[in-house]
Symmetry: C2
Subunit: 218 residues, 2 copies
């Protein structure tokens, strides 16, 4: 193994170990010392790759944003199909859940990490919010959804809030804290939310997909 | 002024100063030293009233929960009226915005404040989520809303997620960070969300109220 490969392997291990610790114990209480101890490496080795915890978080945010962009691209390439839409919803919910420490506390990190604040606001506003709005306009063109422009705009905003709240507010959604259930229940929740806007043409496949999600074992 | 009154006045001033600082600069970066300096009192005086920052936060959470319970009671006492419903929505959004540091970062505080985690989960689950669900069932009995039990249950959950997301995710909702606009735009957003479930009987006053919110100056 070359020095470069060795470096990149440890770099990736640090990022993955940090993601696990942040998700499980809360980013706020985890220090670079915890991460190094958990990985059984020296803090010197960790600092060779990352100068601070904030740099690790920024790398995790970069991966989170990359994954979200992939979900949006996958959604943009769909032909009009309810099952296709649900497959992308599942992919997106799984991705949000994988990076849940970001969803759960990101505004609390901004005062100590201005780079994160800027990256996150730009990404969420320009890519995610605009991307989902365009996507919903396209679903209307494909005659899957119905509504005037204002309704479609609100639908896109509310969809994002519910998708995101589903991951971070189990106290409201009362869903089990487990990957598979989160994803399935989250999809059911999003489909119920979209239901009044589904066009008559897509009503039958929509109801079939919803019923199949409700029949799956917990 | 008696010693007791003096104590309670400083106690309240600490709580209010902390709320301002937490909302403006982020709870995470504010210490008891910052609070004492901001108030021009000694840290000894502050520690006479609160042994830690967590105790101040728990007192703020108690006030937040009391205000939310008042909003729920006000909603429960309404006769079926769209304007009455909007008045309670405005009151609730104003209250959530006043305690926005809690909305924005509460899960990130749980690992350092177990009492907060228990109080918050119990309160949100048993009082808020159940309270809003009962409220929506009552609005159906009053023939303001329409839907089967499952639809009304999802409506209540999604309503809470949107109401809450509106305060914490300006990056999605793209609304100005100012009390009055937040409240008015948040109400418009919630009314658009409820719109497909409003019964024909209440459609005319509903549209009138929505139009009046859109006409108000920014």
């Amino acid at each position: 193994m070359s020095a470069k490969e060795g470096r990149s392997q440890t770099f990736n291990r640090i990022v993955e170990a940090s993601l696990n610790l942040f998700n499980q114990q809360g980013e706020r209480v985890i220090t670079t010392n915890h991460i190094a101890r958990y990985m059984n490496i020296s803090t010197g080795n960790l600092y060779y790759h990352f100068r601070s915890k904030e740099e690790i978080i920024n790398e995790l945010h970069r991966r989170y944003a990359k994954g979200m962009a992939e979900c949006l691209n996958a959604a943009g390439e769909l032909s009009a199909s309810i099952d296709g839409m649900v497959a992308v919803m599942e992919k997106t919910l799984r991705h949000l859940w994988q990076f849940r420490f970001l969803q759960q506390g990101i505004p609390s990190m901004f005062p100590v990490n201005k780079a994160l604040e800027e990256n996150h606001r730009d990404f969420t506003h320009f890519q995610v919010a605009n991307g989902v709005q365009k996507l919903f306009m396209r679903l209307r063109e494909q005659e899957m959804l119905e509504g005037d422009d204002e309704q479609i705009n609100f639908l896109a905003k509310h969809f994002l809030l519910i998708q995101w709240g589903w991951i971070v507010r189990p106290d409201i959604t009362d869903c089990p804290q487990e990957d598979r259930s989160i994803v399935r229940e989250g999809c059911r929740s999003l489909l119920h939310f979209l239901s009044p806007y589904v066009s008559p043409r897509f009503r039958a496949p929509f109801q079939r997909t919803l019923a199949s999600l409700e029949l799956q074992p917990a």
